[in-house]
């Protein structure tokens, strides 16, 4: 076959539409991550009766830009005894895995532009949530490689902590999710949202499952009270102790992107995704049209995510860090049995329901 034919076979409109969507999502996550740092400092300040950054621009809203510029202009230091390739690969991988989760999240319903129905999901993978889990477990490599390549005891300790923590909490997370999957019967994130649009949100069906998922999400994103990998007063920064300049920026950014996207995943799984609560979508489409509805849905979804980001910060500035044995106890002895219990009860109830509530 000629090369020309291959190009003709490509659906160029789809290609461009997805490309634009990818750029928007990537830029959006970066922007949100930037302003999460600002929000974090502001939230911390308000909770501690302080003012927070207020010098750069009105109310300090240019602070993240100033921080970013500062990070770019810092000297790039690669330690002599580090493995150079891995040292650079670490933050890249952390950033990459953080970004990749955004690909399967449905940011809204369809919009109608240029005579095409454009889905606001980059890839409606039918195993969407499995993909998310796969990427999340890859995420530990960014930290592991970075900590290992630094050739520094504290970095390595931080990396080991991160690895064992993420592995332990992924179990409970996965099992709490299985209970949810038994209810929804699908792995596609978009389908889950569509189900929640017509019926109750999943949080009402799986409150315990959500609680476990939430706690595990805290552990997976290395947020306080589970921020042992970067416990700055024990490990002088943990896995990113040796990093400077934008490589450090990548690690810090990936943490905030992780926070944003895990908020997005939780909103999708348990809080109806882009579903607007208390509103009948069919009526709304009739009144304002498809495109406006999609924008409205996207906004509602974004607000839900912001609530989660606020929750992450709120907890961070309330709860002190766990001790490592407490962390492991919580993961293996409490959350895992609880998740199993939740799964069994859910399974039993589903069976009962199929049997029309007869034993």
């Amino acid at each position: 076959m000629h090369l020309n034919h291959i190009f003709l076979l490509i659906d160029w409109a789809l290609f461009i539409e997805k490309l634009v969507l990818i750029i928007v999502v990537v830029m959006g996550s970066l922007l949100v991550a930037m302003y999460s740092t600002y929000a974090e400092r502001k939230v911390a300040a308000f909770m501690q009766d302080r003012v927070g950054p207020n010098r750069a621009g009105p109310f300090g809203i240019l602070q993240p830009v100033a921080d970013g510029v500062k990070l770019f202009f810092k000297e790039e230091i690669v330690p002599n005894f580090s493995s150079k390739f891995l040292f650079i690969l670490g933050p890249c991988l952390a950033m990459l895995t953080a970004m990749m989760i955004g690909a399967v999240i449905p940011w809204g319903d369809k919009i109608h532009l240029f005579g095409r129905d454009i889905s606001l999901q980059i890839a409606d993978v039918n195993i969407g949530i499995l993909y998310v889990f796969g990427i999340v477990s890859l995420g530990v490599y960014g930290i592991m490689i970075g900590g290992w390549a630094s050739n520094n005891k504290f970095s390595l300790l931080g990396a080991m902590r991160a690895a064992s923590q993420i592995v332990s909490y992924e179990l409970a997370m996965g099992i709490s999710l299985i209970a949810l999957l038994m209810i929804t019967g699908t792995l596609s994130l978009n389908e889950m949202v569509v189900q929640q649009k017509d019926h109750w949100w999943n949080i009402f069906k799986q409150p315990l499952g959500f609680l476990i998922f939430l706690i595990c999400a805290f552990a997976e994103t290395n947020r306080t009270p589970f921020d042992l990998p970067e416990a700055e007063n024990e490990l002088i920064g943990g896995y990113h102790a040796e990093y400077s300049s934008m490589k450090l920026g990548f690690y810090l950014f990936s943490e905030y992107i992780n926070m944003f996207l895990s908020g997005a995943v939780m909103a999708t799984l348990y809080f109806g995704g882009y579903d607007i609560p208390f509103v009948n979508d069919a009526n709304l489409v009739h009144n304002i049209g498809v495109n406006w509805l999609a924008i409205l849905e996207g906004t509602v979804f974004f607000i839900k995510i912001c609530c989660f980001i606020f929750l992450f910060m709120w907890v961070r500035w309330t709860v002190p860090r766990f001790r490592y044995d407490q962390l492991m106890n919580l993961g293996w002895k409490i959350l895992l049995p609880l998740a199993l219990f939740n799964m069994l009860v859910t399974g039993a109830l589903i069976l009962l329901k199929q049997n029309h509530w007869h034993f």
Binding site: F46, M47, D49, V51, V315
Partner: protein, 188 residues
């Protein structure tokens, strides 16, 4: 062992109850506390724009005073330098020439008057020693400089603005002294 004070509080070592071991209630309690703090008024004073009012006896950087016509009060008697416990003050006297009456109030004046602000301990003894009300401690503080020599303040730094040419600067440098002409009250 006998306690030295009666403020000892015995630590409770009893095992936690189920409710306490669940952690979550305690975490929620803590979270309500932190959330309530979000709406509290912050006590911060936004410094460069706003400053805290000083107490009337505040002792800041020294100022060399002028009288109402703008003549320098200092006669270079050296009492301040003698009184200074940190030995921060040096001066050189000079005699007033005819025609300089509008510059200096008396026949002798300080041709050079230096205070090393790094040595100065801002005790205010120079102000107490001065018989001519020529030196006093203002409400200016926190000087910044890139070099140590920048902290040796000469007459050009110390002299108060001219009351006729720059009345605003004069009033500002006088500070609360304008309201209390007798001074800061520390001479009583």
């Amino acid at each position: 062992m006998q306690a030295l004070t009666n403020r000892i509080k015995p630590v409770s070592r009893k095992p936690m109850s189920i409710w306490e071991r669940m952690y979550l209630p305690a975490i929620f309690k803590g979270m309500t506390i932190t959330f309530s703090h979000m709406f509290k008024k912050v006590p911060t004073i936004r410094y460069p724009e706003k400053t805290r009012p000083f107490s009337p006896v505040f002792r800041g950087l020294q100022i060399l005073n002028r009288d109402e016509e703008g003549r320098e009060n200092c006669t270079a008697c050296g009492l301040c330098a003698v009184a200074c416990p940190a030995e921060a003050i040096t001066m050189e006297a000079a005699e007033r020439k005819p025609g300089e009456e509008h510059l200096y109030r008396e026949e002798k004046y300080a041709a050079k008057y230096e205070i090393n602000m790094l040595r100065c301990i801002f005790c205010g003894l120079c102000e107490e020693a001065c018989p001519k009300d020529a030196v006093y401690l203002s409400e200016t503080f926190a000087p910044a400089n890139y070099q140590r020599k920048g902290f040796i303040y000469g007459k050009e730094n110390l002299l108060i603005p001219h009351p006729k040419e720059d009345p605003e600067g004069f009033a500002k440098a006088r500070g609360s002294r304008a309201a209390h002409p007798e001074g800061h009250g520390n001479e009583h």
